[in-house]
C-alpha cells in the first residue's frame, strides 16, 4: 500500500458513500433519517452546510415523501438521489414501483437493516430482499470501498438504462465501520458520470410531456414487458460501466467476484460484508490443501443467472448463505441459483440453503469454517438438502 497516496483515507462505509455523492453532486436529494443510513446523509448534510455542494436537500416528513419527492424531481429532469434503511425502504415500497415504471434514474444508497417486528436496528438483507421485485437494479457492496465505487457506478448505470438503482451496503458492518479506502479525484468522477441530460422531462416547456398516465388492458402489459427488457439490458450496461470504472480506478468489477473459484469443490455463495470473513477462511483452508472457494454476488437484480451458473458448474457442493428469509419458502439467492441450474445444461450440485446473521447476529470465522466442513462431509448429499439451516 502506498502510504503517500493522498487519496487514501479512513472512512465509514456511510461516509464513503457520502464522498461519492459529493463528487456526483446531484441536483436534488430528498431524505428522511433512519439508522443505519444516517452516516450517509449527515455527512452529506455537512458538505452542504459547508458550501461544498449545491444540492437541493429536501428534508421530508417520511420515507414515503422522500421517494415521492425524488420521483417529482427526477421527472422534472434533475439528477436525483436518496438514501434509506429498513422500515424506511418498506415505507417507500409503493413508490419504488412508480419510480421504476416511470423509468426514472434515481439512485438510492441503502444501508441494509433488519425489518420489525421485533424492532431491531442492526444489519441484514431483509429490507432490500423485500424490494427485489420492485424493478430497481440492486448492487451489493462488501466494504466501504465498494460502497463508494457502487454509488458512482450506480448513478451512471441508472442514467444510462433509465432505471432506478439501489447501491446496497450492510448496515453497521459496513455503514458504521471505519476502513481504509481510496477515493478517486473529483474531476475524474465528474468526467466519468458526465452531465445529466434527460431526453424528456417535465420542465421542458418546448416539448411538453405527461408523466404517470393511465394504461389499462390495452397497453399496461406492453409497458411492463418493455420495462423488463430494459432490466435485462441493464446487465450488459452494468458490465460496460464496470469495465470503464475499472480503467479509472484499477479495481476489478464484475457481476460477481470469484475468489479461489476456478478449481473449488466446496463453494460459498453470498452477498455483502460477510465475504471478507469468508475470504480469510478460504485462504486458511486452501493452505491446508482444501479446494474451497467463494462467489460473492455484486449485481443481484437483474440476476446474472447464466454467468453465475457457468462459474459454479464445477463445484461439488454449494452453500448459499443469506441474511434474509423469504417467508414460506427458500431464501432469495438460493431460489435464483437453484432455478438457474435447472434452466441450464449443467447438473445440479449438492446445494444447501443457509440463513445467518438476521438482525445483526455476529457471524464468526468458525461458523463459516463449519459450513465448508459440512460441505466437505457430503452434507448436504448429492441433489441437495430440502431443509434451510439456520446459523444461530
Amino acid at each position: 500500500m502506498n502510504q503517500n497516496n493522498k487519496n487514501r483515507i479512513a472512512l465509514t462505509g456511510g461516509a464513503a458513500a457520502a464522498e461519492a455523492l459529493k463528487q456526483i453532486e446531484p441536483e436534488v436529494m430528498a431524505v428522511y433519517p433512519i439508522t443505519p443510513q444516517t452516516p450517509i446523509i449527515e455527512t452529506y448534510a455537512k458538505f452542504h452546510a459547508d458550501g461544498e455542494v449545491a444540492t437541493e436537500i429536501i428534508q421530508v416528513e417520511s420515507e414515503h415523501s422522500a421517494i415521492s419527492a425524488c420521483v417529482g424531481a427526477s421527472a422534472a429532469g434533475a439528477r436525483t438521489v436518496t438514501a434509506t434503511s429498513s422500515q424506511g425502504l418498506a415505507l417507500m415500497n409503493e413508490i419504488l414501483y412508480i419510480a421504476s415504471g416511470l423509468r426514472l434514474p434515481i439512485l438510492m444508497v441503502v444501508s441494509a437493516r433488519a425489518l420489525s417486528a421485533p424492532i431491531n436496528i442492526h444489519g441484514d438483507h431483509s429490507d432490500v430482499m423485500g424490494a427485489r421485485d420492485a424493478g430497481w437494479i440492486q448492487i451489493f457492496s462488501e466494504n466501504a470501498q465498494e460502497a463508494y465505487d457502487n454509488t458512482i457506478i450506480g448513478m451512471k448505470l441508472a442514467e444510462k438504462v433509465g432505471l432506478p438503482v439501489m447501491a446496497i451496503m450492510d448496515g453497521f458492518n459496513t455503514s458504521h465501520c471505519v476502513e481504509n479506502l481510496e477515493l478517486l479525484p473529483d474531476e475524474k468522477v465528474k468526467k466519468f458520470i458526465g452531465e445529466y441530460a434527460p431526453e424528456k422531462h417535465l420542465l421542458n416547456i418546448t416539448e411538453p410531456v405527461t408523466y404517470g398516465p393511465l394504461a389499462l388492458q390495452n397497453s399496461y402489459f406492453e409497458f411492463k414487458v418493455d420495462q423488463e427488457a430494459a432490466m435485462e439490458g441493464s446487465k450488459e450496461a452494468y458490465l460496460e460501466i464496470s469495465r470503464e470504472f475499472e480503467k479509472l480506478s484499477g479495481r476489478a468489477k464484475n457481476y460477481f467476484e470469484s475468489y479461489q473459484l476456478e478449481d473449488a469443490e466446496q463453494v460459498i455463495v453470498l452477498a455483502g460484508s460477510t465475504a471478507g470473513t469468508t475470504k480469510d477462511i478460504v485462504d486458511k483452508l486452501r493452505k491446508k490443501g482444501q479446494k474451497v472457494g467463494l462467489l460473492k454476488i455484486n449485481l443481484f437484480r437483474p440476476f446474472p443467472r447464466k454467468e453465475i451458473i457457468e462459474a459454479l458448474k464445477n463445484a461439488k457442493s454449494i452453500a448459499v448463505m443469506e441474511r434474509a428469509i423469504s417467508s414460506g419458502t427458500y431464501s432469495p439467492i438460493y431460489q435464483d441459483i437453484v432455478s438457474g441450474f435447472y434452466n441450464s445444461e449443467h447438473k445440479m450440485p449438492a446445494i444447501q440453503n443457509y440463513v445467518y446473521s438476521l438482525g445483526g447476529r455476529d457471524i464468526f470465522a468458525g461458523d463459516i469454517e463449519k459450513v465448508l466442513k459440512d460441505l466437505e462431509d457430503n452434507n448436504p448429499p448429492a441433489g441437495g438438502s430440502k431443509e434451510i439451516k439456520y446459523i444461530k
Partner: protein
Amino acid sequence: MEVGAVIKHDIKKAAKTGDWRYMKPVVDKEKCSGCSTCVSYCPDASIELKFYKEGQKDKADIDYDFCKGCGVCAEVCPMKAISMQKN
C-alpha cells in the same frame, strides 16, 4: 411503446378545450395597462402579454383555443379592461 409510458404532447394535435366556452373575455387594448395581473391569475395559462402598438407596453392577449371563459381575468383586472361577452 414510449419509455416509462410518458406521453409527448403535440400542441397542434391537442384538443381545443376552449370550444365549449359560453362566455368569453374580451380585452379592451386601449384600457389595458399591460400590468399582467390577469396572466398570473388565469387558471388555464391562456393569457400572455403580446405586442400591440409601437411605443406602447405589451397588452393582454387571450388564447381562445383554451380559454374556458371562467371570468377570473375580468374580475381581477385593475383597469376594468376585460369584459365578459357571450361567445
